[in-house]
């Protein structure tokens, strides 16, 4: 089943680069996630949303990939948010400390309206 592979999809909404992560976020996902991040960064995006799909498998290797993204987001002065995580992975993101560097929203819409408020203020 294709669910075992990660599919990455990039969309642009209201000035935000939305990166859909469809499938499992494990060591096999590294190239695709990093590639998508580099692409939107090369396009000059400041606001990035990683949109997960509920109930996909994320393991510690996937978390390491995401920490790598956060490292670059911080260096490049971008803003990162995440949406679509299951309650279990929201909890794990908080435990790991990722939630301090990327706001967690239930849905894409909530994340987008938060980005709108932010870009209005800035």
């Amino acid at each position: 089943m294709l669910e075992d592979e990660l599919n990455v999809n990039i969309r642009h909404r209201d000035g935000v680069a939305v990166i859909d992560l469809i499938g499992d976020v494990t060591t096999f996902a590294e190239e695709k996630i990093n590639g998508a991040y580099r692409q939107v960064t090369a396009q000059g995006h400041r606001y990035i949303l990683l949109n997960f799909r509920q109930n996909d498998y994320i393991n510690s290797a996937g978390i390491a990939i995401l920490i790598g993204i956060v490292t670059e987001v911080n260096q490049n002065g971008q803003k990162l948010a995440v949406s679509g995580l299951s309650p279990h992975f929201q909890k794990i993101f908080r435990m790991v400390g990722l939630a301090q560097y990327a706001e967690i929203y239930q849905t894409e819409e909530e994340a987008l309206s938060a980005f709108r408020r932010l870009s209005g203020v800035e």
Partner: protein
């Protein structure tokens, strides 16, 4: 205890005489042997989740168990067995009246150092490192009620994890 297991509708699975000890403690053991290839940890996760569901664990405990066992098997595959597919990862799932015990062992191509089992990574430090990993063992410890590292009988590394069933035991003694 036997009566508890048998009268509890959620444990059609509970043990009766399986490996009865002197104190009348009952347990049942399921053994799963997997090839050392990344991806097969998913089978261990699904098998353990299937068992935990039938034992009556709450969904969030099952999610925690999935993650912990996934990390343990991934480590056994990648580190302990160095991804040599001919080497087996052995998962024992022991069903007890009030807990599930999971043991994951590898064939010890690489020894696990004691210090590595006690790491508590901090994300701010990790940003500075090239290797952003090192969260697996810590996650197991955070998610499970008990975690213990020992040597497997065959000389490999063995992780033993326990999750308690949050249900009041009705002792019949």
């Amino acid at each position: 205890m036997i009566r508890l297991l048998d009268s509890t509708p959620t444990i059609r699975l509970g043990g009766m005489t399986g490996m009865s000890g002197a104190e009348g403690v009952t347990e049942q053991v399921i053994e799963l042997r997997l090839p050392s290839r990344l991806g097969y940890e998913r089978i261990a996760m699904d098998t353990a989740a299937s068992l935990a569901r039938r034992m009556g664990f709450a969904d969030e405990r099952i999610d925690a168990l999935r993650t912990a066992i996934g990390e343990a098997v991934t480590n056994a595959i990648e580190h302990g067995n160095q991804a040599d597919e001919a080497m087996k990862v052995v998962v024992l799932l022991t069903v007890r009246p009030n807990e599930l015990v999971i043991s994951v062992s590898d064939q010890g191509r690489k020894a696990l150092e004691v210090e590595q089992t006690k790491l508590r990574p901090h994300i701010a430090d990790v940003f500075q490192r090239a290797d952003k990993g090192g969260w697996g063992i810590w996650l197991m410890r955070e998610l499970m009620d008990e975690v213990e590292f020992t040597l497997a009988p065959g000389g490999g590394n063995l992780v033993r994890m326990v999750v308690h069933l949050e249900r009041m035991p009705i002792s019949d003694q």
